[in-house]
Amino acid sequence: MLFNRTAAVDLHLLARAVNWTLPLALVLCIGAGQVLSFYFHFLTVPLFYLNLLNISYLWVQRRHTLLRNFGIVGQGRYFLESIGPELRQYLFANDREERPFNRVQRTEVYRKSRGVDSTSAFGSLREFDGTEVKLRHSMFPTSPAEVEPFELVIGGDRSDGASVEPFTMRSPLFISGMSYGSLSAAAVEALSRGAAEAGIPMNTGEGGYPKYHLRGGADLIFQLGTAKFGVRHEDGRLDEDALRELCAQPQVRMIEIKFSQGAKPGKGGLLPKEKISPEIAALRGVPMGRDVVSPPRHAECRDLASTVAFIRRIQEVSGIVTGIKVCLGSPDEFDALLREMMSQGVLPDFITVDGAEGGTGAAPAAFLDGVGLPLYTGLVTVDHLLRRARVRDRIKLLASGKLVTPKRQVQSLCLGADACGTARGFMLAMGCIQALECNHNTCPVGITTHDPALLRGFFVPEKSRRVANYAAALNKDFVELLAALGVTRADQLGLGHVYIPESHPLAATIRHFGGEPEPVLLLDGAPDR
C-alpha cells in the first residue's frame, strides 16, 4: 500500500531520491564544516548515522524485503503499522466497529463505573434490520418497586441425599474468573474490595492459593483449574489436605471445577513467562522463566465415569457448594456426561456455561477465534439438556461470555441462566482501555501487568469504588429491565421474553430442541421454567 505507483506521491521515486540525498547531504555537510563553519559537523554526525543505517538496510540485512529494496523510507511502513491500533482506536474506528468491545460498549461501562448518567440520546446506533437478539417488553410493565429482591440459592440438598450449606446470591451478578498472575495484585485487590462493597461474589480464576482475592473480604468462588494450582501435589494430582484447608476459610463459598474455558476451550490455562514473579511462582507451585501451561484436562478425568467420580470427590473433600465450568463443545458429549452423573447419583450444584466469546488472558488466536460454542447457543443447549433430564431444578446455571452490558446479561437470564458474570466488564470498570496487551506484561493501566512503573497509576480505593459503582448500576438496570418485561422475579424470565430473528443461529438451535423461537402473546407472565 505504501509503495503504490498510482498514489499522488510516487513512493518508489521518493525512496530512490532519499537514498541518493542522504550521502549527498553528508558530503555537503562535511564540506560546509570545513569551509563555512565547523558547527556544520553537528549535522554531519547524525547524517553519518543515517547513512550507516541506510546502507545496512539496503545491503547488509536480508530479512526485510521492503528495507532492502527501499532503504530507510521503508521504515515508514513499519512505523505507521506499529501505531495503527492506536490511530484506529483514537481517530478512525467507528463507535460500533471495534472488537472485542466497541466504543459505545466501553463508554457505557466507564460511565456506570464512574457513577455518572449513562443514558444517550437521539436513537440507537445499531443496525435495526440486522440479526440481533432483542428483549420483548410488556404492554403492562411492572414498576421497579414491585420487582422482588434477587435471591438465588445454590447448593443445599443434593440428589444423593447429602446436603451442603447453600450459598445465596443477592444479585444476579458475579465477577468471572481472573487469576492473580494474569491480573496484578492491585487489580485483584480492587476487584475484591469492590465486590465486597457491591455484595457480589468473585471467582478466583486458576491462580493458585488465593491471597489478594481475600484482601477485600468478598465471597469467593475458588476455581479449580486443570493444573490445580494451590491445591496440587508435585505431580499435578489433587492435594486433598490443601483443598480441605482452603475450603475451611469462611470467605471461600463455592468451588468451580474448570473443565474448559471460553477463551481457549480444549486447552489448559496459559500464563506467559513475562508475567511470572517469584510470588506468583510460589503461589502456584511452578518454576520461573517458562510459560505456565495447564494441562488440557484434569489428570483424574480420563472418561465420563472418572470425571463424575472426581466431581463427587471434590464435593466430599471440600464440603462446600461445588460446581463445574464448561464451554460447550459437543452437546452429545455433555448429554452423556449428564447421564453418567444421574447413573452415579452425583450432580454438580451449579454449572457455569462459558461462551467461546469469553477470554481475558493469553490464548492462541486459533482458540480465541475458532473453537467452542458461543454463549447463547451453549446456554440454551445446556438448559435444554438439563430440563430433558429433569434435573434443571437441582442444578443452577451461571453464564459468562462477554456479558458486559445489561442487555446481554438479562438476555442470558432469559435464555436459561440463573445468574451471570463478567470478567472483562470489571476490567473495563477498573480503567481498561482495551490496549490488547494482557499477554505481554505491558498493560498501560496496571491491570494485567506486574511492572511497578505501570502499577504506579493504579489507585486501589478509586478502582474498587468503580467496581462497586459498575455492579450497582448493572443491578439497577437489571431491575428496570425486569419491570419493563412485565415480571417481578428473575426466575419468571424465559424464551418468551426474547425476540430472536429467524436469521440468528439461535433460532435454529431452539427449533431443533422443539422450543418456540417466535413465542405467542404472554400476558400472564413467562412460560414455566
Binding site: S56, Y57, V60, Y78
Partner: protein, 146 residues
Amino acid sequence: MKPNPLQSGWHRSLSWVLQLLVAGLLVVPAWNKLTSEPYAVELFAGLGMEPTGRYAIGVIELAAVALLLLPSTAVWGALLAFSVMVGAFITHLTRIGFGGDMLPTTVMWALVSAGAAALLILHRCRLPLFREALDRKPEPEPDDSL
C-alpha cells in the same frame, strides 16, 4: 519496559566495565571544557567555535557520562559518546592531526571510541531503528526487574 538484551552474566559484567571505562575517560575532557581550561579554549578558538561550541560539546559529554552510569540508558550514553568521537575524528583528521602533541588525546579518543562501539554492539538490539538491520534477531532475555 524493553527486554534486557544482555544474554549472560559475563555480558553484563563486560558492559559494566565498559560503561565505567568510557564514563571515567569522558568526564575529564568534559570537565576541562566546562571549566574553560586554557588548552580547551585554544582548541575551540582554532575551530572557530569559542565559547558556544566548547560548552555545547562539554554538556553533551557530561550527559553521555550520566547516561552511561544507569543500566537502562547506557546504550544512549554510548551512542552520544560515540557521536562526539565521530566529531573528534573529523577534527583530528582535518585540523589538529594525530601525532606529536596530540598523541595523548588520540589515545584517549581511540579508547573512548572503542569502548563506546563495543557497548553499542553489546546492546545492539536496544537501538530502535538498528534492530531491523540485524540479520539474526538476538534472543531477548526475560526482564529481570520483576
